[in-house]
Amino acid sequence: MVDLSVKIKNVEFANPVLVASGTFGYGNEVSELVDVNRLGGIVTKSITLHPREGSPPPRMVETPSGLLNSIGLANIGVERYISEMLPYYEDLDTNIIMNIAGSSLKEYITILERVEGTSNYLSGYEINISCPNVEKGGLEFGVDCDLTLALTKELRKRTDKLLIMKLSPNVTDIASIAKAAELGGADAISAINTVVGMSINPQTRKQNIFTGFSGLSGPAIRPVGVANVYIIFDAVDIPIIGIGGITSADDVVEYLLAGATAVQVGTANYREPGISIRIIKQLIEYCEKHNVTTIRELVGAIRDED
């Protein structure tokens, strides 16, 4: 019997395969297709204080082995999340991690406090810090160590649940951002969010995405995700959740070897909503074939050159 379970802080995950924020809706849309209880966990889409309609279309376009999107954080807002989604999650038998996005320190805090006061069911929070801070002239939280530190500290004070900071790869020095999150008391780091990209239609001469800039995801960015996880693994002592371009158990193992304790599957869900379940099966096969008794053996276990 292969042991796929992993633990982050006091939270047990039956396996290391979660689904990524924004790529699996709220988790209920696909329940007809996927037995979500078999997932390691579901990270729900970013929730803001107020409901957001998001950006005008087009919001998405394919690129070579990837996808650009700018959904504009469309979401139902924290109140509807609490009233409509939390009751659904209470009947599930998997870890639900709420992803939070804010445009000011205060907004993040308000959302977290609002949920903390309501539910004990959630396993924790993933904090999307790739959001422009309106107070600091639109500078993204996630590109600044001080902002990241301050945000993490404030949230840490307010919850004992899992606190995961989700980092952006669009920075010079992701290690220092990860360290700031660790210093602020984060329990884990998620990496990476999408890579800044753009696509223009040469026929119409227009942007393919309404907002112009957008986020690149999918297999195209897997090498970027793996590199960032490796860098962060060297920089901090807290667990890392690897994200970016995962489509198979081999990809999961690649991330684990680079230093991830768990992973999230994103874009691949659009092609194959049940892909994470298949990946979990393949992971067991991988472990059996390679005599891995617990998946935790693989974390950071790159072999030195012979």
Partner: protein, 265 residues
């Protein structure tokens, strides 16, 4: 909503650049509700084409589903190269349907471009139920048509170059029908096609105050409501909220069929 590996039983070009494919997929076929619904096809096993391709259902016979598709780009090219016996991965049935009611006498069905499939299915359904109706299909030239122009049977083809049927877009033909039979009330217009066509149809149905349902297209990342890419803008004064909010609606889950007067094209 199911995922099924369907076995292709037929795939051929029925007009210039227009293909028809049939495949067996009992699980999905058994759950189809009617014209307007679509499926989402994984055309490429490799990631060269990251997303599935949405295609309206053009008909269901027993366990077989038919689609009619236009060669557009890389995805539909791969589709057209598949042969009977090969299989494709299908997700469906998805979306809502055109609503019919017994009150609606003499509907007009209008299709064009990649929007022929649901219209044709509707046409076949109405024929089976012996509901009199008018069918108008638009195309650029004769060679893109695979039906026969047959005014006696109320089947009107239009071409931009007049090479078959009526000259021009579908709109003049619609308008002349409106006028011809103005005494008789058209209960409803069912339309599907490219956005400029739908815009023109919306204008004329507004002018003549005829209720119109449209099956829309938008860029779809998933087809099942989890990516939020497929939004269409709603009119501010639309009464209800969609699953999604006031301003936008998800074409894949709330649509693809909308009352023309609730959306902004």
């Amino acid at each position: 909503m199911k995922i099924e590996v369907a076995s292709i039983s037929g795939n051929k070009e029925i007009a210039k650049g227009i293909w028809k494919m049939d495949f067996d997929c009992p699980n999905i076929a058994n759950n189809v509700l009617g014209p307007g619904q679509f499926i989402n096809i994984k055309v490429d096993p490799s990631w060269e084409i990251p997303l599935r391709r949405p295609m309206s259902i053009a008909g269901v016979k027993g366990e077989k589903i038919t689609i009619i598709y236009k060669l557009f780009g890389r995805g539909t090219k791969i589709l057209s190269e598949l042969r009977p016996g090969q299989s494709i991965n299908i997700l469906g049935p998805l979306g809502n349907i055109f609503t019919t009611s017994d009150k609606d006498s003499f509907p007009i069905l209008v299709g064009g471009g990649v929007g022929i499939a649901p219209i044709l299915w509707m046409h076949n359904e109405l024929n089976i139920k012996s509901v009199s109706h008018i069918l108008i299909i638009g195309a650029t030239t004769a060679e893109e048509h695979f039906l026969q122009h047959n005014p006696d049977k109320n089947i009107f083809l239009t071409t931009d170059d007049g090479s078959i049927g009526e000259l021009g877009t579908v709109v003049p033909t619609m308008e002349s029908k409106f006028k011809e039979v103005s005494s008789r009330s058209f209960g409803i217009i069912y339309a599907c096609g490219p956005t400029p066509m739908l815009k023109a149809i919306h204008q004329i149905t507004t002018k003549y105050k005829i209720y119109c349902q449209m099956a829309l297209e938008s860029y779809m990342g998933c087809g099942i409501g989890i990516c939020q890419s497929c939004v269409i803008e709603r009119k501010n004064d639309s009464p209800e909220e969609d699953s999604y909010g006031k301003r936008f609606s998800l074409v894949c889950s709330d649509g693809p069929v909308y009352s023309a007067d609730t959306i902004i094209l």
